[in-house]
Amino acid sequence: MKLRAVVIWAALVGAACPVLTAAAADNAAPGQMGTAPERPVSLSGPGSEARWAYVLERTPVHAAPERSAPTITTLATSTTLGQPNLVLVLAKERDAGGRDWVLVRLAVRPNGATGWVERSALDKFQVVRTHLVVDRRSLVARLYRDRVEIFHARIGVGREGTPTPAGDFYIREEVRNVADPFYGPVAFGTSARSATLTDWPGGGFIGIHGTSEPQLLPGRVSHGCIRMRNADVLRLARLMPLGTPVTIS
């Protein structure tokens, strides 16, 4: 009887430990952990908790978690609008040299690209439990928190020639008091980029914003951005933190 209890306890601890270890290690400073190679640990997944971090220093993004791996791009500390840059963190791993690496989602073309950066280049991981899902077919955006819908709104999406791209992205910045009323009172910048407007100023990022032409909504009216009524985007701004994953289907 006692032996059985011990076995069950050991099994429970064994199951719980990887989770605890991952949680505890999230914000550990680089080099604080041992040097034993680690298998990648998932940090964000669709529909569940997600982690993001500000970029503290300009850093190269590698194709693999090692310095000798090819460089994909370079992460800047700010966005093209001068906002602090942040990345969605997907997984972490330690290389043979004891350096910690994190797999991040990138705001580059092609959409959906990911790459590895050294942990030391990023700030503390921050956790979000929200997830924005955009349905281009029904023209509805839904925000979930802990998998429970807390917001939905009818939206406008890209026209046929300039479609809103599908895929997994994240909220990268929030801009208020916008000078141009075209964008409404609040505009979110996402990591998504137009696949067709490649020469758009600033790189063709897809935004989620209000509008000065609410009569056009819902519909396929934009150059790729997701538009919603100003009241809706203001409500969304109260509910949706930075770093929220965005799925466009």
Binding site: V55, A76, L81
Partner: protein, 247 residues
């Protein structure tokens, strides 16, 4: 046990008390090193019970005497320093100006006459740069290893790219008292600095961000303490945001 024995025992107790009262303060001061720099002059026989201000030590005649000017005079035995926390590990006996003092140099003259205690000088502003400026070698932390910082204040939380700005950080413990010797890290937007707080719990950085973004200000705490940190924002010269999303 007769009356005589009790009397001799009483004498013994009194003698012991006198001995303890005479020795203990000296021993305590010697152990703590917090008595205004103490007095390590063997000629004067140790501490004389004079309560001197930080930066001063007591002398054989019961008065307080300045430990030395500024960073310490070469050749002076720095039995204390200006932060009032005793010798900070400068054991070479030749001042605490790092290793710039020549051990062969002649000792300087007698310290100047006692004056009002100088105000505690803050560490010099650390220049911004890629290298991490270390705290002055003569001013290592006197922090209790178990002391935890529970709060800190930032002089500013917003910086402009390319503009030099002074960042003053004050670190306090749970009772609200300033905490000395806490290492503060400032990292982000092209800045990476570290320095320790002074006796007032204060540390100053000269920050000049190279890019927009964020700067994380964090305290290096023992593992048993709750880690605390704050973010500061770095922006370019302000202009109303004009998104260039595809619309």
């Amino acid at each position: 046990m007769g009356f005589k024995d009790r009397k001799s025992n009483a004498r013994l107790v009194v003698a012991l008390c006198v001995f303890v009262l005479g020795v203990c303060p000296t021993a305590a001061v010697a152990a703590s090193g917090h008595q205004g720099g103490g007095n390590n002059d063997p000629a004067t026989g140790g501490n004389h019970g004079q309560d001197c201000a930080p930066g001063y030590h007591d002398t054989a005649n019961g008065s307080c005497e300045h430990n030395g000017d500024g960073g310490g005079n070469c050749g002076d035995n720095q039995s204390g320093n200006d932060n009032g926390l005793g010798n900070n590990g400068n054991d070479n006996g030749f001042g605490h100006k790092g290793d710039q003092c020549d051990p062969s140099s002649a000792p300087s003259g007698p310290p100047s006459s006692p004056g009002p205690p100088p105000s505690h000088p803050s560490p010099p502003a650390t220049p911004n740069g890629p290298t991490t400026p270390a705290a002055p070698a003569s001013d290592p932390p006197a922090r209790d290893s178990n002391a935890c910082a529970t709060s800190f204040s930032l002089g500013r939380t917003h910086f402009i790219v390319g503009r030099r700005a002074l960042l003053v950080i004050r670190v306090r413990d749970a009772r609200g008292a300033p905490l000395q010797g806490v290492t503060v890290l400032v990292h982000g937007a092209g800045v990476r600095l570290t320095a320790a707080t002074d006796s007032l719990g204060k540390v100053r950085f000269t920050v000049r961000p190279r890019s927009a973004g964020v700067i994380r200000i964090a305290l290096v705490q023992p593992a048993t303490c709750v880690s605390i940190s704050r973010l500061a924002r770095v922006t370019g010269v302000f202009k109303p945001p004009t998104p260039n999303y595809t619309g």
